[in-house]
């Protein structure tokens, strides 16, 4: 590897890094990809049809496998051995999900693939809060089109405000709503709230040589038939097929190396298995290690030119860390009891969702919080989990045939409502290097600072209010999450695993770290293509936008390389 000549070294193999590798290798550039985690092959490692009784503890979540035994994430989680992080004293809680595997979070992600809308790129112009992006929706729209055509996303044009429709031919047909989704749609519509077809990164039809979904097995386990989107099944194989991609796993990059002229000459990493340190060179460096890790690499890249970290002359690296606002309420519905058996497997995520519906009321300043949220719903007659016993708890505990009847009756009668909302970046949410704590290899770790503002806590309270209202409308009973104090109902910082914005893009070197193409203002052959570049964090889940931004930036990088301008 050391003797090979690379045009680009990419740090990270998830949505950002995987898309960069795809675009750059297709453009003919020689690419070395460094992944901190182990190699991972979804074709042989995915427990597709496994049942809970084949797994320890029936597959329930544990600190070793927080989202359940069969969750695709391997060798990672909220804590990673030997790789600590800290949360500053006085900060609100912040938790940091880190997979350590090829493909990163794209192996287990929710696969909800919503485009940001026109308002989302110019939020400050619209309501005076947060910051505007240096690009508009129209700048990114062609790249959304390309991403959707490449990876396969379901959905349907519905003409809803700030919820872009895709051009003809971009989207795959959405699956029909499940029984409970059909039911809940009536509740929302009776409240004047439109319901939309889900945009999910799952193939409901064959696409680009990949087979269609078999409409069974949970997507969060990954997909051995490549019917949903993972970097490891959709981006990396064609990149490998070009002959231009080399992947090295277990390579934990901690520094961007500069040459005497102040340009990036490569990166240094520690091999997580051997503990040996290595440096590799390339004509350009792409960071896509995830918002936290990308910021950490820059902050740890100290030199005479950049004593506070690479590109951090204006103290912008690590600033404006954002996550998604989350709140959850569960309802039980007598109307769904005794439903004839129905197969609710299929495209793993929701088949419907509720886009934000109050843009105009917010525009008229009629609401107590400025930004919106969308609603995701879980429920139906999915594969029973060990936690289902809790649904049958009570002051009187049935047994025998009465219990069997009760279990059959209430199975599938619960609906979980999840709000996913926009957070406005604030000065209290950022990461920096911890002054004393280091990882196993002596590299300083991140220290997080977090504080939700009232913009978010009031939004969370509104989520709970809305969910309880729709539960009531549908004759149900709230059984979990009836917390009307938004400060208590809101998720922890980082809990939604949508952390973005530590290396934001902007129009000038003073108020941003990279330009609209993720290109460092300070070091022109250094690019960032993960969620770190985001300027705002709309309610729409970030992955589709990371893919579109990464493709756009990588295409720009390839053009510069062709012109010899790196």
């Amino acid at each position: 590897m050391a003797n090979d000549q690379y045009d680009v070294v990419i740090v990270g193999s998830g949505a950002g890094g995987g898309m960069s590798a795809y675009a750059l290798t297709k453009a003919g550039l020689k690419v070395l990809m460094l992944e901190a985690g182990r190699n991972y092959d979804p074709l042989t490692e995915t427990p597709m049809f496994n049942t809970p009784d084949q797994a320890p503890l029936r597959g329930t979540g544990t600190p070793d496998k927080p989202f359940g035994f069969y969750d695709a994430t391997v060798d990672g989680g909220w804590e990673v051995p030997n790789e600590p992080y800290t949360v500053a004293e006085g900060s609100e809680p912040f938790i940091w999900w880190r997979p350590r595997m090829l493909g990163g979070r794209t192996n287990h992600w929710g696969r909800i693939s919503l485009r940001f809308g026109p308002y989302d790129f110019k939020p400050k112009s619209r309501d005076g809060l947060g910051h505007d992006w240096p690009i508009t929706y129209d700048d990114l729209a062609p790249w959304y089109d390309k991403v959707e055509r490449l990876i396969g996303v379901t959905g349907r044009a519905q003409g809803l405000e700030n919820t872009p429709d895709s051009p003809e031919g971009c989207l795959l047909p959405p699956p029909p709503p499940r029984a409970f989704e059909y039911f809940v749609t009536h509740g929302f519509e009776a409240m004047g709230i439109p319901v939309a077809a889900m945009h999910g990164a799952v193939l409901t039809q064959p696409l680009n040589g990949r087979a269609a979904c078999v409409f069974a097995t949970p997507c969060g386990r990954g997909c051995s038939i490549r019917a949903n989107f993972q970097s490891t099944t959709v981006l990396l194989p064609p990149a490998m097929d070009t002959g231009n991609l080399t992947i090295r796993a277990n390579a934990l990059v901690y520094q961007v190396d500069l040459d005497k002229a102040g340009k990036a000459k490569g990166v240094s990493f520690v091999d997580r298995v051997t503990g040996e340190h290595h440096s590799v060179t390339a004509r350009a460096v792409v960071l896509a290690a995830g918002s936290g890790e990308t910021a950490r690499i820059l902050l740890n890249s100290k030199s005479a030119l950049f004593p506070d970290g690479l590109g951090n002359t204006h103290g912008m690296v690590g600033r404006y860390l954002m996550d998604t606002v989350g709140a959850n309420v569960v309802g039980q519905f007598p109307a769904l009891e005794g439903l004839p058996p129905t197969n609710d497997d299929g495209m793993g995520m929701e088949h419907i969702y509720v886009p934000w519906w109050n843009y105009q009321r917010q525009n008229r300043k009629e609401m107590s919080f400025p930004r919106g949220y969308h609603i995701e719903m879980g429920g139906g007659r999915g594969m029973p989990s060990v936690g289902m016993g809790r649904m049958l708890d009570g002051a009187s505990l049935s047994t025998g045939d009465a219990l069997r009847d009760q279990a059959r009756r209430i199975y599938g009668s619960f609906i979980s409502f999840d709000g996913r909302g926009e957070m406005i970046p604030n000065d209290d949410c950022y990461c920096e290097l911890d002054p004393s704590v280091k990882d196993k290899w002596g590299i300083p770790v991140l220290r997080f600072h977090w504080k939700w503002s009232e913009h978010e806590t009031r939004q969370a309270a509104h989520m709970v209010e809305t969910f309880m209202a729709v539960i009531d409308k549908l004759g149900g009973k709230t059984v979990l999450g009836a917390e009307k104090d938004g400060r208590k109902a809101i998720s922890k910082g980082g809990e939604m695993i949508h952390e973005v914005g530590t290396v934001r893009m902007g129009a000038s070197a003073e108020d941003s770290v990279v330009n609209e193409f993720g290109q460092s203002w300070a070091v022109k052959n250094l690019f960032v293509t993960d969620g770190a570049v985001m300027v705002s964090s709309p309610d729409k889940n970030p992955t589709l936008s990371i893919l579109a931004l990464s493709w756009r930036s990588s295409d720009h990088l390839a053009q510069l390389a062709r012109k010899g301008d790196l």
Binding site: P56, F69, R221, N343, R390, A407
Partner: protein, 219 residues
């Protein structure tokens, strides 16, 4: 003696059993909630952050329950879910072994359940001895049912609250473990986990059910 149930036969193979016995030594034999400190934290390690997912290995930690405790667990499991006309009993699908695996696990949720379950099993046997002068296995079916029935409703007597809490948790675990087996899927009406060429959505029969219910709700 026709009341005496068949002994519970663990599904765990002999080699594994010997390994656990070697690792655990004397198991908890405490007989009351007041003495639950005997339910020491399990010493085993978890399965780690990177277990094989497609063919999971058995849980690696040593087990806790003695043969006698497994018998008690089987009787309680089968009080909760005896065989029905169409589905097997909880013990027939190995739930007592699951309870053992659960209370022996080194993770926080399971460690928290461990003293509750171990003390509860001991309480049940103490109570059988106190009431009937025999262990639960040798009590008459009517007596067994009487004893366990006393745990199915929230008790007015404070002294009964710990046994009730035990039973509620034991029942929750039993239900969760039972319905996550293939016979459990069948009994509850889960018909998924099969490859399909398309997703047709709910059947007309299901939609008709929903339309009726929505109409009742005025929707």
């Amino acid at each position: 003696m026709t009341d005496t149930p068949k002994p519970y036969v663990s599904n765990i193979d002999r080699r594994t059993t010997l390994a656990w016995l070697g690792a655990t030594g004397a198991a908890a034999t405490t007989s009351a909630f007041a003495r639950k400190a005997r339910a020491a934290t399990p010493s085993g390690k978890g399965y780690g952050t990177d277990p094989v997912l497609t063919k999971p290995a058995p849980a690696p930690w040593p087990r806790t329950l003695t043969k006698a405790q497994l018998q008690t667990a089987a009787l309680i499991c089968d009080f909760i879910l005896p065989a029905s006309a169409t589905a097997p009993s909880a013990s027939a699908v190995g739930i007592p072994d699951f309870i053992d695996e659960w209370v022996s696990a080194p993770y926080p949720e399971q460690v928290a359940d461990r003293p509750v379950i171990l003390s509860g099993l001991a309480w049940v046997e103490d109570e059988a001895a106190r009431r009937y002068g025999v262990d639960l296995t040798h009590a008459s079916a009517a007596n067994r049912t009487d004893l366990l029935n006393s745990l199915t409703t929230w008790p007015q007597i404070p002294a009964m609250r710990a046994p009730f809490t035990f039973f509620r948790r034991f029942r929750t675990l039993t239900i969760g473990a039972y319905y996550t087996t293939r016979p459990g899927f069948k009994d509850i009406g889960y018909i998924g986990n099969v490859a399909r060429v398309s997703d047709p959505g709910p059947s007309p029969e299901v939609k008709a059910h929903l339309d009726r219910e929505l109409k009742k709700l005025g929707l």
